[in-house]
Amino acid sequence: MCHQSVGLIARLLESAGISTLCMSSALDISRAVNPPRTAFLDYPLGHTAGKPGDPALQREIMLEALEAFTSLTAPGAVKMLPFRWSEDNSWQKTAMRGKDDRLPRLDTPQYQSEDDRSRAEEACAICPPRTS
């Protein structure tokens, strides 16, 4: 759903005069929602901008992606980024297959840690309520 949401947002921003580039690791979902420009990285979901702890690779990926702002000249075009997660692409066999890893869709804030919860609740005690 993330790729769909991002594509919808990009289309609105672009119509408001802001040039957009969507990164993507789910090519079929991106093509369906059809944002103005897409840079596709064939990595497992959760790594749209690179591998953890490898800032040099993250920089290379971002440079290749940003280049699409000028190299893509047709609305809806996709640039395929020249990076592979692994030699054999074996991660693709199990992606989104077999079992449901999603967490329950709870409607209360889901903190990374209890410490975050305390800090946010302390902050909320002294500030006016906000929705965003």
């Binding site: 064939d42 749209t48 901008a49 609305p75 967490l103 804030p109 902050a123």
Partner: protein, 159 residues
């Protein structure tokens, strides 16, 4: 060949007894606004859907949360947190740059590849099942925010 997520997700949902999700399909060409100046002179805004927040902010919830967080562009990567119901958070928590490349973009702004980053990056929980709520609630709110930031361009990073 890239993974065909639409058919895999349909099969997964069916095996769990759910109906097929109706994906948004836009047959019409998207709007088109070429960069008005070179990227090296543009103010670029980062928007990302990986459920990133700063320690001290209220976290996202998992049920069509259409709120967003404004994250100051100088925020230390160590203060970023990740919460989301639909992807493996392990690597995003280890290095938030993999889904929220604020450190990467700061580096490229320093190098002069990008003119500047907008004052804030914007983060949300992209796993919103209702495309209507994205279009009617989240997208216009983000558009207003980017206009206030005077952003020339936006980089959007889904998960």
């Amino acid at each position: 060949m890239p993974v065909e997520y639409i058919s895999r997700i349909r099969d997964l949902y069916l095996s769990l007894g759910y109906g097929a999700y109706k994906w948004t399909v836009n047959e019409t060409p998207p709007p088109w606004q070429p960069l008005r100046k070179p990227l090296a002179q543009c103010r670029l805004a980062l928007l990302a859907s990986g459920g990133i927040y700063v320690a001290g902010q209220t976290a996202f919830h998992y049920k069509d949360d259409t709120s967003f967080r404004a994250i100051p562009r100088d925020t230390a990567v160590a203060d970023l947190r990740a919460t989301h119901f639909a992807y493996d958070l392990t690597d995003a928590r280890r290095d938030p740059n993999v889904v929220f490349p604020i450190g990467t973009l700061r580096g490229l702004a320093q190098e002069g590849v990008i003119g500047a980053l907008a004052g804030h990056a914007y983060s949300f929980m992209g796993g919103i099942y209702s495309a209507r709520r994205v279009t009617e609630e989240l997208a216009p709110a983000l558009c207003d925010a980017l206009e206030r930031e005077q952003a020339d361009a936006a980089l959007l990073v889904p998960v």
